[in-house]
């Protein structure tokens, strides 16, 4: 069960500004029933002052989608369009007393509906993140949207991108692409979590280190399971090993080899490839 704030529960059970404004000055529609949530926002706008006089919403979605929509209407009422455009998805989430991280996309949907409505009022084209190249086919998420949400919310991992945009949340085919986009965004700016530079090793040091890790860490672990491993040779970045005892013919052998490779990459060098003899 989701840990919703009191505010989310309150607005879910008693949402404010539900419905549709008759003859609205602006309409913003985002999401779809296929994706599981959709929001239709209608606004009454004072044409002279460009102030939002009234806002109403209709939402198909879960509790946090309904609460996000409701709080959005409260946040924007009485604001000028320029003021309203400054509202971010973070503002929506904060006004709700926070959202579970997996539900941040509900706040993003609120912000998108607002932008869409204002673009509609101004006779502008759809906002750029609604156009452009689709990265995630399952949820129809564009590269532009991923970039925008990542920068605004300082997102650095694919998991965060999925929580905020749903991209990558189903078949996962686009995950490498999302990773590449994130890499591209954060290489231009200061990387948010710099990695400690790794010491360069001589060949001799490398071989000694690999021997030590296998002897002191990996062998005892396998031996505890009745298995064993022998280091056969090290050729460049290739570490050749043989599985022994209970490991022989074990269908999990592949996992074991992968695990060893991961550990050696972590401790020795990124380019290590572990092979079975």
């Amino acid at each position: 069960m989701w840990e919703y704030s009191e505010k989310v529960k309150e607005l879910f059970l008693h949402p404010k500004n539900v419905g549709e404004i008759e003859n609205p000055d602006a309409v913003g529609e985002v999401g779809s029933m296929i994706c599981g949530d959709a929001l239709r926002l209608t606004l009454k706008i004072d044409r002279e002052t460009e102030r939002i006089i009234d806002a109403k919403f209709q939402t198909f979605g879960c509790a946090s989608a309904i609460a996000s929509s409701s709080v959005l209407t409260e946040l924007i009422k009485g604001k000028t369009l320029d003021e309203a455009l400054k509202i971010t998805n973070k503002d929506i989430a904060e006004a709700l007393g926070g959202l579970p991280k997996e539900k941040m996309h509900c706040s993003v949907m609120g912000r998108e509906a607002l932008e869409a409505a204002i673009a509609n009022y101004r006779g502008e084209a759809r906002p750029p993140e609604a156009e452009g190249r689709i990265v995630c086919n399952c949820f129809q998420v564009t590269e532009e949207k991923i970039r925008k949400v990542a920068i605004e919310n300082h997102l650095t991992t694919v998991e965060e991108i999925t929580n905020y945009t749903k991209a990558g949340g189903d078949c996962g085919t686009c995950i490498p692409e999302i990773e590449a986009i994130l890499k591209d965004i954060w290489k231009a700016k200061a990387p948010p979590r710099p990695e400690a530079p790794r010491k360069r090793l001589t060949n001799l040091q490398k071989i000694a280190l690999i021997q030590e890790i296998i002897e002191k860490e990996i062998r005892p672990r396998l031996q505890a399971d009745g298995g064993d491993i022998e280091l056969i040779d090290i050729i460049g970045n290739r570490v050749i090993v043989a599985l022994r005892a209970m490991c022989v013919g074990c269908p999990m052998g592949g996992v074991t080899i992968e695990g060893i490779q991961e550990r050696l990459r972590e401790l020795v060098s990124d380019d290590i490839v572990v092979e079975q003899q």
């Binding site: 599981g36 198909f60 879960c62 949340g169 189903d170 269908p251």
Partner: protein, 390 residues
């Protein structure tokens, strides 16, 4: 407020009779059944009594029952044992609508290089038997098909599948976690090689399961260690829970038919009333061949999590196949495999009953549900035009 608990396919209440039998083994009788002293050793006999009761519920011999820690462990053990027993065979067949305990294990095998066939179902959730026959080949190590689906309650033609596989000498495992205790199962008639069951689905506690392995079936243990369970499942026995599972199986066996009648009457009344009072609602799954306690209803144009949280306000517990409740951003893999239209899939609600549900609880759900659906449709951009319909 006592909850109106209609989520019994998720888990069930521990029966008071079960708890009572368990308590001594959580208090004074804490001995290890493997010990050489009477104090511990006497617990061994209680384990064997429980084993006989579990066996009796499914028509097995006691020695064909292995106690495990849960349904998932039983499923994993069965599949792992099958592929280890036939290392040259590299093909596994299962269905698209299995529980994750089987489905994700099959995917794990696929990543290890196994060829996995996921059999499709039709729009009523019935297994595609033609696809099953076509998928079989000499390379098939094991077929794993659930007895009944946890989301829709649809019962699969396990007996028919079992006959075909016995003829061809292919191992057959069925995940019967949702079926045991709800429908009669007799492995003397049913040609399965392995069958998984779980305690907490039939009023025993969580953390106990069992795997039936037909005598003569090749078997490799999954958890390796001590000699417990005759070397087939290591680890000191969970004595209290094993005793509890035994009692729960005894209770289920005694009342099986009577209970099935009671549950299907209650379930049918709930289903009929909701379909009548809520426009644009439909049952997901084959209503002619279902578990007696389960109904899965799709309320079109509304979202499942929202329905559940409104029900929660009345203390009513149910579950949903909507994306927001699945933890995966996509709605239920079962309903998607059935091709349930997206207008209904996000608004699917499963009610699953138990012997402890009463007529008045069902009345309460029938009373509050139409208002919940109506209010959520009023909120929805898709719901407005639907409200005018009768």
């Amino acid at each position: 407020m006592k909850p109106i608990y209609l989520d019994n396919n998720a888990t069930t209440a521990v029966a008071p009779e079960v708890l009572e039998e368990m308590l001594p083994y959580l208090k004074e009788l804490y001995g290890n059944p493997s010990s050489m002293h009477t104090f511990g050793g006497q617990n061994h006999r209680r384990i064997e009594e429980a084993r006989a009761k579990v066996a009796a519920l499914i028509g097995a011999d006691p020695e064909e029952i292995i106690f495990t820690s849960c349904g998932t462990e039983s499923d994993n053990t069965a599949l792992m044992s099958a592929v280890e027993s036939y290392p040259r065979k590299r093909h596994v067949i299962t269905t698209r609508v299995e529980h994750p305990a089987v489905l994700n294990f099959a995917r794990h095998l696929a990543r290890k290089g196994y060829r996995v066939t996921y059999l499709p179902v039709d729009s009523l959730g019935r297994l595609d038997m033609e696809a099953f026959h076509e998928a079989l080949d000499d390379d098939t190590a094991v077929v794993s098909v659930m007895y009944a689906n946890n989301e829709t309650g649809v019962i699969f033609p396990v007996a028919e599948i079992a006959e075909v596989l016995r003829e061809r000498g292919i191992l057959f495992h069925t995940d019967a976690v949702q079926a045991v205790g709800k429908v009669p199962i007799d492995v003397k008639e049913l040609a399965v090689d392995m069958l998984s069951l779980s305690g907490h689905k039939l009023h025993a506690p969580k953390g106990i399961g069992a795997l039936y392995v037909r005598r003569g079936t090749r078997f490799h243990p999954y958890i390796i260690g001590g000699h417990q369970e005759r070397g087939r499942r290591a680890g000191t026995e969970n004595v209290a829970s094993i005793v509890g599972l035994g009692k729960a199986c005894e209770l289920a066996g005694e009342a099986l038919e009577e209970e099935a009648g009671y549950l299907s009457r209650l379930r049918d009344r709930l289903e009929r009333a909701l379909l009548q009072s809520c426009p644009d609602a439909r049952v997901n799954g084959d209503t002619t061949n279902r578990l007696p306690n389960t109904t899965n209803i799709g309320f079109e144009y509304v979202e499942g999590e929202a329905i559940l949280l409104r029900l929660d306000e009345y203390g009513i517990c149910a579950s949903s196949g909507s994306a927001c409740t699945s933890g995966s951003l996509q709605p239920s893999h079962v309903l998607r495999a059935m091709g349930v239209p997206f207008t209904a899939i996000h608004g699917s609600i499963r009610f699953s009953l138990s012997r402890y549900n009463t007529e008045s609880e069902i009345d309460r759900v029938i009373e509050v549900m139409p208002t919940i659906i109506r209010e959520l449709r009023l909120l929805s951009p898709y719901g407005k035009e639907r409200l005018t319909q009768p």
